[in-house]
């Protein structure tokens, strides 16, 4: 390592610094224009949307990311939107990224992750000309008028998951594994517990939280612990770490219900079925409302018509499959009523 003492060099450095700062200040002049949400019309100007994921590789990450990605592809390919996607943005930095998009004139700014609710509630007020949409569960909209949310009825969805799990289990023990305990997940799991109990009052439900969406060995270990206790059907709602769940399940002869997207190709031996969420439909509705100018500050609920079970592909016997499908149909039609109970005790916070 060299320590340099030479006046000329120091002067050069200082001059360079001054020059750089000058450049910076000079570049400060331009500000980008933003589109006025109320007057955006279909086809007039190309829509530039910005969104951020907390994980990397969204098309192959967690179930929700994959389901959302189908929606993103629809926006890009079918509607011709220009979408900038930031990956790997931790929750505390989401607000900064969202604000960055708004500053550059991106409209709308899309939040695909319920964990980003903090940013969703704080940023819209600062950029009144930009629409901010949350494409996942949120408990309340921010005060600002330029925010909307497409909220899947995660409780009902959880009911469906619970029914499948409770009917498919042979040991009477089912497991729920979540990544980060976001409120949406607590609601989902509550629905799963109630759904399972409605179908089999004696079923034993174990809830485990890994603590993050990505750590593979950790996910595997948490699943191992469940499998050792006799759990034979697991519902896993996490991100890229879900692969770890599959590994442990396969080793322990347990089956996994996938979240939101069809996971069959990732683990043909371990997957029972996947509880699908038609996120693409959510994005379609959002795009229509935005382009037609009918987007309003409200929560757009996404109910049972957004959910269905993926093909079982012979993972259970034909009678069990029919039984499950019939019960789910009863849930959808309202014939089967399940009480709404939020199980706060499973929330580690």
């Amino acid at each position: 390592m060299i320590i340099v003492r030479n006046k000329t060099w120091i002067v050069t450095v200082v001059l360079l610094l001054v020059a750089l700062l000058g450049l910076a200040v000079a570049g400060c002049g331009s500000t980008t224009t933003t589109a006025d949400p109320a007057t955006t019309t279909t086809g007039a100007a190309k829509v530039k949307a910005g969104m951020m994921f907390s994980i990397t590789n969204p098309p192959k990450a967690g179930g929700w990311d994959r389901a959302d990605w189908v929606g993103v592809q629809y926006l890009k390919n079918d509607l011709g939107w220009e979408i900038a996607v930031a990956e790997g943005v931790p929750y505390p930095q989401t607000a900064g990224t969202a604000a960055g998009y708004a500053e550059k004139g991106y409209n709308p700014v899309i939040f695909p992750d319920a964990g980003q609710s903090e940013a969703f509630k704080s940023v819209p007020a600062q950029y009144p000309k930009t629409w901010f949409v949350m494409m996942s569960a949120v408990d309340a909209l921010p005060d600002a008028p330029n925010a909307a949310a497409w909220v899947p009825d995660f409780y009902k969805y959880g009911n469906m998951v619970g029914i499948i799990a409770a009917k498919a289990t042979k040991s009477g023990k089912i497991g729920l594994i979540g990544g980060v305990p976001v409120p949406a997940l607590v609601i989902l799991f509550s629905g799963a517990i109630e759904g399972a109990k409605a179908v089999n009052p004696n079923v034993e439900v174990t809830v485990s939280w890994v603590g993050d969406w990505v750590d593979l060995p950790k996910h595997k270990e948490v699943t191992n612990l469940q499998v050792q206790k006799g759990v034979d059907v697991i519902f896993a709602d996490s991100g890229p770490g879900t692969t770890g769940v599959f590994e442990a399940a396969e080793a322990g002869n347990a089956k996994v219900i996938g979240f939101a997207a069809d996971w069959y190709d990732d683990a043909p031996n371990a997957i029972l079925t996947s509880a699908l969420i038609d996120a693409a439909k959510m994005y379609k509705q959002m795009a229509e409302a935005f382009s037609n100018g009918t987007l309003k500050k409200q929560i757009y609920p996404c109910g049972f018509d957004f959910f269905r079970a993926a093909p079982f592909r012979g993972s259970v016997s034909a009678e069990v499959e029919k039984d499950i499908t019939d019960t789910i149909a009863k849930l959808g039609s309202g014939e089967l009523k399940i009480p709404e109970v939020t199980h706060e005790e499973i929330n580690p916070q």
């Binding site: 340099v4 030479n6 120091i10 050069t12 900038a84 990956e87 929750y91 305990p181």
Partner: protein, 353 residues
């Protein structure tokens, strides 16, 4: 290969590094299916075009320049301070705690919080210092260990006693607006000026104070310094405490100027970038230049990822690769000049370690 560039050498190396790094990044972008030129342009646009972007770059700059100083000052006395990241986190934690719990007029709390972050940073270096002075333990290990210990301690606090009850992950509440560092002209935050000020101060200290000259003496030849009557241990300890305090200040500034709270995932890898910056900078003003370049790469590469869709992996690549290139070029030039006996320039080169 005789390269006689004398005083322009660091600029030359920096320039070549930047160009080579951009070429590699362009190639990676190509492999990933994006247009390399668009990707490279996106880096500069993301860092420098537009007021918002420049402010974001300056925010990174304020952190990285301070962590660079945190490595440089102890390095002059021969102490490797690798624990910068941990010192930053502790300093940030102290600033948040003071900001949330001390009741006093806003600007007073702000000053106390900044001072608190200085103290917290210095505290983080006490254990490795003690182990080095009393036990002769290499600080390379101990500072790395302290690093993780401090970061994990911060996580414990943030998921436990300090956690915002309304949040579902580990985070504290935001410090109130009264306590935050003010924005000055054109949106530039006072934090940036603090960073600049500290660097200039350290430069003056290094060159014009007894302590500064003693530090260099200790670093060059410890036994000679000892023989000359310098209290080497005391000089080193002081330098390390100052360096660690500066790292703590980096954390405090980030909190009071930009982030306003600590949480799981709130920080970037300023501490580790600071190591490279400290080594490459060579002196406090050089640190400012290198830190600015690193800040450009940081904000620019994130923008490049978001705008062109290249994988986020390239962001980490852009943190490691330029360092390798720079360090390699610098060493290659130094060795070639050494071997050929060239370098009888007016520049006095002092090689340590």
């Amino acid at each position: 290969m005789v390269v006689a560039m004398g005083r322009w050498q660091p600029l030359f190396i920096g320039g070549v590094t930047l160009i080579l790094s951009l070429i590699v990044m362009g190639l990676c972008a190509l492999v990933a299916g994006a247009n390399p030129v668009t990707a490279i342009v996106a880096i500069f646009e993301g860092a420098l075009k537009g007021r918002y972007e420049v402010l974001a770059t300056l925010a990174e700059f304020s952190a990285i320049s301070l962590t660079g100083l945190a490595v440089l000052i102890p390095l002059r006395t021969g102490f490797f301070n690798i624990g910068g990241q941990g010192q930053v986190e502790l300093g940030a934690l102290a600033a948040v705690v003071i900001g949330l719990f001390v009741t006093a007029p806003g600007w007073i709390v702000m000053i106390i919080a900044l001072l608190g972050s200085l103290v917290a940073g210095a505290l983080a270096a006490v254990v490795p210092l003690f182990l080095r002075v009393q036990r002769g333990a290499s600080e390379v290990t101990t500072t790395i260990m302290m690093n993780f210990t401090c970061v994990l301690f911060m996580y414990v606090m943030v998921t436990g006693p300090l956690k915002d009850p309304k949040a579902f992950y580990g985070t504290t509440k935001l410090v109130s607006t009264a306590v935050r560092l003010p924005t000055l002209f054109e949106g530039i935050n006072a934090g940036v000026l603090i960073a600049l000020g500290v660097a200039v101060l350290m430069y003056l200290v290094g060159r014009y104070t007894v302590f500064g000259l003693q530090s260099t003496a200790v670093g060059c030849n410890r036994s000679a310094a000892l023989a000359g009557g310098i209290k080497v241990d005391r000089v080193m300890v002081t330098a390390v405490l100052i360096g660690a305090a500066i790292a703590g200040l980096a954390g405090g500034v980030q909190i009071l100027a930009f982030s306003f709270r600590v949480a799981e995932g709130w920080s970037k890898s300023w501490g580790f970038q600071g190591i490279a910056v400290g080594f490459m900078g060579g002196n406090p003003l050089g640190v400012l230049v290198v830190a600015f370049i690193f800040a450009i790469l940081e904000t620019g590469s994130r923008n490049m990822q978001a705008m062109t869709g290249v994988p986020a992996a390239l962001v980490s690549l852009f943190q490691g690769l330029p360092v390798l290139i720079y360090v390699g070029l610098q060493a290659a030039i130094r060795i070639s000049r050494w071997k050929t006996g060239a370098g009888r320039s007016r520049r006095r080169v002092v090689v340590t370690r």
